[in-house]
């Protein structure tokens, strides 16, 4: 690997020390052209020499998220510069997304094995979305959950014998449509009376016998959401 220039942005001296040590020990190709403890120092350094990689801590001084803003600015001003986030915000998932949106190439959490040569190299080789293990675990966990949820939906459709009309009916009920409004939908070949029957039928399918009394449209829709028949995040009305 060819040598490359790095600027480390870290406000805690002791941590900076550790990070520098990692570079020295594990990534000797990296030439630390400067370290900055705050925003001002960093931009000063940038004006002096543009690095190949910026190792950016998200929290600087009193601000825990200033890194997001810095990342965005780097990306807009220095498109070629690789940005690797090295942060202790191990729980703030939202911030991860923010910083990825701001243009970061990867996020390394200051936990576990910390910064590893492989991760830095991947970034330097132009890989996007480079994460260390703890963050990957989280991403995989979320992904599994999503996939499971989707399979839950298809399972529910089969389990509760939901046809496209049932789904459309439930979805529009959830969107606050009245039965008359639903009956007037282009893709809904049923009258309001027929929908009443369909609703009663759905109640008998989705609720055990002991819980059917007093179930109204709201309760039915809620149940459909709980059973993953409806996806709360994708409640969209049919285009008419």
């Amino acid at each position: 690997m060819e040598p490359f220039k790095v600027i480390i942005v870290e406000d805690v001296k002791l941590e900076l020390k550790g990070t520098e040590q990692i570079f020295r020990a594990d990534i000797p190709e990296a030439e630390i052209i400067g370290t900055a403890q705050n925003e001002g120092e960093f931009w000063k350094l940038m004006r002096q020499d543009v690095p190949d990689l910026v190792l950016l801590d998200l929290g600087l001084g009193g601000s825990t998220t200033v890194g997001v803003d810095i990342c965005r600015q780097i990306r807009s001003r220095y498109t070629a510069v690789k940005i690797l986030i090295f942060t202790g915000e191990v729980l703030n998932e939202r911030l991860w997304v923010e910083v990825l949106n701001a243009g970061a190439d990867g996020i390394i959490l200051k936990t576990g094995n910390l910064l590893q040569r492989d991760d830095v190299m991947l970034v330097m080789h132009g890989r996007h979305y480079v994460f260390n293990e703890p963050i990957l675990e989280k991403i995989i966990g979320r992904f599994k959950k999503l996939v499971n949820s989707e399979s839950d939906k298809s399972d529910a459709m089969i389990e509760y014998e939901i046809d496209e009309y049932d789904e459309r009916f439930l979805r529009h009920l959830a969107l606050g449509y009245t039965k008359d409004m639903i009956a007037s939908l282009r893709k809904m070949p049923f009258g309001a009376k027929s929908l009443e029957k369909r609703q009663a039928d759905l109640i008998s399918r989705l609720f055990p016998a002991s819980e059917r009394t007093g179930v109204n449209a709201t309760r039915l829709v809620t149940r459909a959401c709980q059973l993953h028949i409806l996806d709360v995040n994708h409640l969209v009305a049919d285009e008419d």
């Binding site: 001084g61 009193g62 803003d69 923010e98 200051k110 094995n113 910390l114």
Partner: protein, 1184 residues
């Protein structure tokens, strides 16, 4: 009434008989009965026994009246009518015995019939009939004696009536009467009456049918009468029968027929009177015998009649002189009687006069004949048949008078009614006015006043309570402000705790690398040592900080009833029901001394855990047990339970992995809340010796359920707590009248003695007579024909015309005026009745109209007014009751009352009842509605106050909830931080020690492994404790608002100035530069806390501070410049770093971090900038 009358009669009868013995009574009865019995046998005997009976008793006593009747009969037969009438008058006047009255009236009738006094006749007839009707209605048996009297009276009444009508020429009426008499005589008990009946039928005119048959039947009756009377000694009837038989047989045609058809009877009669044939000799014999018998019997009337009969017989045999003698004898007898008595028998005299007229005519004495005829005609005039009319007239007069009286009374009543109506109407109007006035003046009424004062009382109470609640709310808000500041401080502490993690991770990473490489690295070791030192440094800072704030948040220990907490727990019942769980709550009066918010938190946490880990249809129960000095509160469930190991961990371990507690993976997470509960109990124990009894424990069986319990000290004074418990035709004839003309010519012929011509003209005229005719002239014509016939000696023509004349005369002479008067009277009566009826009808109509038009309206109005008044009064009562419900100003009660408040229903009901009442008087309804409006307004003020109060109470609840939440959160965070401090202090120091030792160690790798183990355990424990604290951090207290930057800064500046002046007793120059339009997104309280935190460090030494708020593209930049103070670069650098020595800076950092996280825009700045003669703190907030 009749019953009473008869009872009275019986009473008098009893009184009358009382002094007599039964024997004497019988004797009297016997005499009277004998007297009655001998009436037609021997009139002297009748008199004798009657006198005897009279002697046996005394006036008015038993049997006396009856004796008087019998004596009156004797007087009647002797034609001493005055005496008879006097006796009868005594009876009718004094006797209360209706039987005596009846007998007296019947005798009156006989006398009236005989004297031809129709008026009296009918009067007594009707009286007698009334008595009979009364007796008929009285079903009581009158006794044999009286029964006989009644039967006699009934038969006699009809027989006399028949006689009366017969002489009036009203044959059909006479026949009707005699037939009616039959009913009472047919049983022949009263032989005399039976004979009388038969005589009546035989005497002629009362039997209808073919003349031959009639003669035969009359003969039969007379013969029967004769034989019966002869056999039984009834001389009177014997004489009468003979007289009638003599007249009957005097006609040769008839006598031949009778002799042929009734040979035996005729034979018997001829034998009896020693006659050879049934011709004239027998008639004369019988007539003479009759005269003899009557003379013996001493019946003057009948004697005269007998002589007249004799005269007629002589006349029939043209023996006019003997006839004249007989008639004159009869007349003399009559004239004698006339001298004795005022009452005389006119028809009797008339009859004799007519016969004399005929006899004189036959003798050729035209002058005497005419004389007698004129007397005859005069008498006829007097004897009219209109007595009935007269009687009716009198009755009518009587009735008219009665109607007049009744009308007068009715009129009087109407006047009285009108008067009463007037009074009533006046009273009603007055009452209506009063009612209206009462309604108008309702505001002054006691009802309304009471309501007003009650409303005022309730409002006053509410105002007081509202004031109190406002204060409470204010205090709570201050608490929240403080707790929020405290909370952010604790969050800052937690952040500080967290800041150790990266160091720890770095240590671990370094050590792992060394372990992996198998050799210690000096540089790395040094770095690990430095990191350990830094951790120790942060720990120290944390410890200092915790120490510094220790005592700032103490437990709020109060004495309270556990029931209050249980009532709050009860509110979460639906969440249990949703999961089909039974939540059992105790009812307790236990008072405990503890922190209420924390106790609620603990029970809630435990109950919540139980709910989470108990499967459907299970049960969660909360128990309260009292011990000597503590109260044990337990939460039991029928849930999944805990393993023995988990139980021991929970009971004994200070530090454990809360997330690992629980029987199965699905039930993991049992431990966090429990850890907090344990922490709270620990805090109690640490606070005071009083809380030494505080303990926390758990007992559980896997799969069967758990029981969590904790103990709190019992309140000392239970009593103190108990105190806290409360609705005409014109009669003008034209001169051309043919009747008048005919009469004039016939009369002229008679006067001129041209009797034959007169007779011829008359008969010719009468033959062609066709109705209608003028009765008066027809009578006169018949009279002239009779006169002519009389003069001519044409007896049959005379008889026929005389009879016709008499008949028509009787008809014509009916007193038309009386009739007319009668009619008038009748009319008057009917008019009277009509008037009477009209008056009644008019009165009724008037009453109905009065009722309908006024009274009903009035009454209805009156009733409606009173209903209205009642409605309004009861409405006010209802209002008072409703107001009274607000007397208890406890929020729960008020809330319940407001929800159940049906006053609007009462108001609407009252309004609709007024509207539906349909009172025309709008003033009234308006007044009522005004009262209702006023009451409603009054009531609404209370409702408004209550609503306000409840809103306030709700706010208080909300604020109090927030307050408690923050308070509990802070307490728990304190516990967590305290635990972290206590449980983890050792590790970094030990790590440092190990690192240090490694430098000199011969076998450093052993220590390196030890270090790794230590650090791994340290991290594990640390993370456990951190997560516990972090869970609290996750509970947001952040409230995002859009604020005016200038306002926020002005508030800050004024507070700061005041604070400096108060605390440092000096003034500070504060310059503020901020655009008014500048708005930021922030938490109001946190922003103030931030500002205060930022100036806190520099404040003691600074004299001038300028604050600038500047707009930037997406945010607002705040710059606080401390003039005259400088900071070194290092100080500036470290100011907001995690290892900042300033707690205020750490808090400021935490606040910015939270705004970063909750305002939807990461990248907020917070840093310090140094200057030549000052330094500035810069921070940004999202621009709104």
């Amino acid at each position: 009434m009749k019953r009473i009358a008869s009872l009275i009669a019986v009473f008098f009868a009893l009184v009358a008989c009382s002094p007599h013995g039964e024997e004497q009574r019988m004797e009297i009865d016997k005499c009277n009965e004998r007297s009655y019995h001998d009436r037609y046998i021997n009139i002297d005997s009748t008199l004798f026994y009657a006198t005897r009976a009279e002697e046996l008793t005394s006036k008015g006593r038993y049997g006396w009246y009856e004796a008087q009747i019998n004596r009156a009969y004797v007087d009647y037969q002797r034609m001493d009518f005055d005496a008879a009438l006097e006796r009868l008058a005594q009876v009718t006047r004094s006797s209360r015995n209706q039987f005596h009255q009846l007998s007296a009236h019947v005798l009156y009738m006989k006398i009236a019939q005989r004297v031809g006094d129709g008026e009296t006749f009918f009067h007594h007839r009707s009286r007698a009939q009334k008595i009979l009707a009364r007796i008929g209605e009285n079903h009581e048996e009158p006794g044999e004696h009286y029964a006989q009297m009644v039967t006699y009276a009934q038969s006699e009444l009809h027989i006399v009536s028949s006689t009366y009508y017969y002489y009036l020429g009203l044959d059909s009426a006479a026949v009707r009467e005699i037939n009616e008499a039959y009913d009472y005589v047919r049983d022949r008990h009263d032989t005399a009456q039976w004979i009388n009946y038969n005589y009546m039928l035989g005497s002629g005119g009362l039997i209808l049918g073919a003349p031959e048959d009639v003669v035969m039947r009359e003969f039969d009756h007379l013969f029967l009468t004769y034989t019966l009377a002869t056999n039984r000694g009834y001389r009177y009837f014997e004489a009468n029968a003979l007289q009638s038989l003599a007249v009957l047989l005097s006609d040769s045609t008839r006598s031949a027929d009778i002799a042929l058809q009734r040979a035996a009877s005729c034979s018997f009669l001829s034998t009896q009177f020693a006659c050879e044939d049934y011709g004239d000799s027998l008639c004369f014999a019988m007539a003479r015998r009759a005269v003899t018998l009557f003379e013996e019997y001493k019946d003057l009337y009948q004697t005269a009649c007998a002589y007249r009969t004799m005269g007629e017989l002589y006349f029939a045999h043209a023996d006019y002189l003997d006839a004249l003698e007989a008639f004159q004898h009869a007349l003399s007898l009559v004239e004698n009687q006339r001298k004795r008595s005022r009452q005389t028998v006119n028809p009797w005299i008339a009859g004799i006069r007519e016969k004399l007229s005929m006899t004189y005519s036959a003798l050729g004495d035209k002058m005497r004949s005419d004389q007698n005829r004129n007397i005859y005609l005069d008498l006829l005039d007097q004897y009219r048949q209109n007595y009935e009319s007269e009687n009716r007239l009198r009755e009518l007069k009587h009735e008219v008078a009665s109607i007049r009286v009744k009308t007068a009374v009715l009129f009087g009543l109407i006047v009285l009614t009108l008067l009463l109506a007037y009074v009533f109407v006046r009273r009603m109007n007055r009452r209506a006015q009063q009612s209206a006035q009462r309604l108008t003046d309702f505001r002054a009424s006691a009802h309304f006043q009471t309501l007003t004062s009650e409303v005022a009382d309730v409002r006053k109470q509410l105002a007081e309570d509202t004031e109190y609640y406002r204060d409470t709310l204010q205090v709570s808000r201050m608490h929240i402000e403080r707790y929020k500041a405290g909370n952010v401080e604790r969050r800052a502490k937690v952040s500080l705790v967290y800041s150790i993690i990266p160091y720890l991770d770095r240590m671990l990473a370094e050590v792992r690398k060394m372990v992996d490489s198998g050799r210690p690295d000096e540089e790395r070791l040094q770095y690990v040592g430095e990191l350990a030192e830094e951790i120790m440094h942060i720990n120290d800072a944390l410890t200092d900080w915790i120490k510094m704030t220790q005592g700032q948040l103490t437990l709020h220990v109060t004495t309270f009833s556990l029931q209050e907490i249980i009532d709050v727990i009860a509110l979460s019942r639906p969440t249990f029901e949703q999961k089909h769980l039974t939540l059992q709550l105790p009812v307790t009066d236990v008072q405990v001394k503890a922190d209420k918010a924390l106790t609620l938190f603990m029970i809630n946490t435990l109950a919540d855990n139980a709910r989470k880990f108990t499967p459907e249809h299970g049960m969660v129960s909360i128990g309260v047990e009292r011990a000597e000095d503590y109260v044990e509160i337990s939460v039991s469930d029928t849930g999944v339970g805990l393993s023995e190991h988990d139980c021991s961990v929970l009971n004994d371990s200070k530090v454990y992995d809360a997330s690992s507690i629980g029987a199965s993976a699905s039930s993991k997470g049992f431990g966090f809340g429990i850890m907090n509960c344990k922490g709270i109990i620990q805090k109690y124990r640490k606070t005071s010796q009083r809380f030494a009894v505080c303990q926390f424990g758990v007992s559980s069986t896997l799969g069967q359920g758990s029981r969590f319990w904790f103990r709190l000290p019992k309140a000392l004074s239970v009593l103190l707590a108990l105190l806290c418990l409360s609705v005409a035709p014109s009669k003008s004839f034209a001169k051309s009248n043919p009747f008048e003309a005919m009469y004039d010519s016939i009369y002229a012929a008679n006067v001129e003695g041209r009797h034959a011509q007169s007779l011829e003209m008359g008969i010719e005229f009468v033959r062609h007579l066709q109705p209608p005719y003028d009765t008066a002239y027809v009578v006169l014509i018949h009279n002239e024909i009779a006169v002519a016939a009389l003069a001519m000696g044409d007896w049959p023509t005379y008889r026929r015309n005389n009879d016709e004349c008499v008949r028509l005369h009787k008809l014509f002479t009916q007193d038309k005026s009386i009739e007319a008067y009668c009619e008038r009277m009748q009319e008057l009566q009917s008019n009277g009745i009509q008037v009477y009826v009209m008056l009644i009808i008019v009165s009724l109509i008037a009453l109905v109209l009065f009722y309908l038009l006024y009274l009903r309206k009035g009454l209805r109005s009156d009733r409606l007014y009173s209903q209205l008044f009642t409605a309004v009064t009861s409405y006010i009562e209802s209002a008072r009751n409703h107001v009274a419900q607000y007397g208890d100003t406890s929020p729960a009660h008020l809330q319940q009352t407001v929800e159940a408040d049906d006053f609007i229903v009462a108001t609407e009901a009252c309004r609709s009842s007024i509207a539906s009442s349909g009172i025309g008087n709008h003033t009234m309804t308006r007044s009522a509605n005004l009262v209702i409006d006023e009451v409603e307004t009054l009531y609404q003020t209370i409702q408004h106050d209550v609503q306000q109060f409840l809103t306030l109470d709700e706010q208080c609840h909300k604020v109090s909830f927030e307050e408690d939440r923050l308070y509990v959160m802070n307490q728990i965070m304190d516990n967590c931080l305290s635990t972290i401090k206590h449980e983890t202090m050792y590790y970094p120091a030990r790590a440092k020690q190990l690192v240090d030792n490694m430098h000199d160690s011969e076998a450093p790798m052993g220590q390196m492994h030890e270090l790794l183990d230590l650090l791994q355990y340290y991290r594990e424990v640390y993370m456990l404790l951190y997560h516990q604290a972090d869970r609290q951090v996750e509970q947001y207290s952040f409230r995002r608002q859009t604020l005016s930057a200038r306002e926020a800064l002005e508030t800050f500046v004024s507070e700061l100035t005041e604070s400096v002046r108060r605390q440092q007793k000096r003034d500070i120059t504060l310059r503020l530069v901020a655009d008014e339009a500048l708005r930021v997104v922030a938490d109001k309280e946190l922003l103030q806390t931030l500002l205060h935190a930022l100036v806190a460090d520099g404040l003691p030494n600074v004299e001038s501070v300028s604050i600038l708020a500047q707009a930037q593209p997406t945010d607002v930049l705040f710059r606080i410049t401390f003039h005259g103070i400088t900071k070194s670069d290092e100080e500036i650098e470290r100011m907001f770093s995690p290892d900042s020595p300033s707690v205020h800076c750490l808090i400021a950092r935490q606040i910015i971090k939270e705004h970063d996280a909750h305002c939807g825009m990461p990248g907020l700045r917070l840093h310090a900038e140094g200057g030549d003669a000052d330094y500035s703190i810069v921070f940004t907030l999202k621009r709104a």
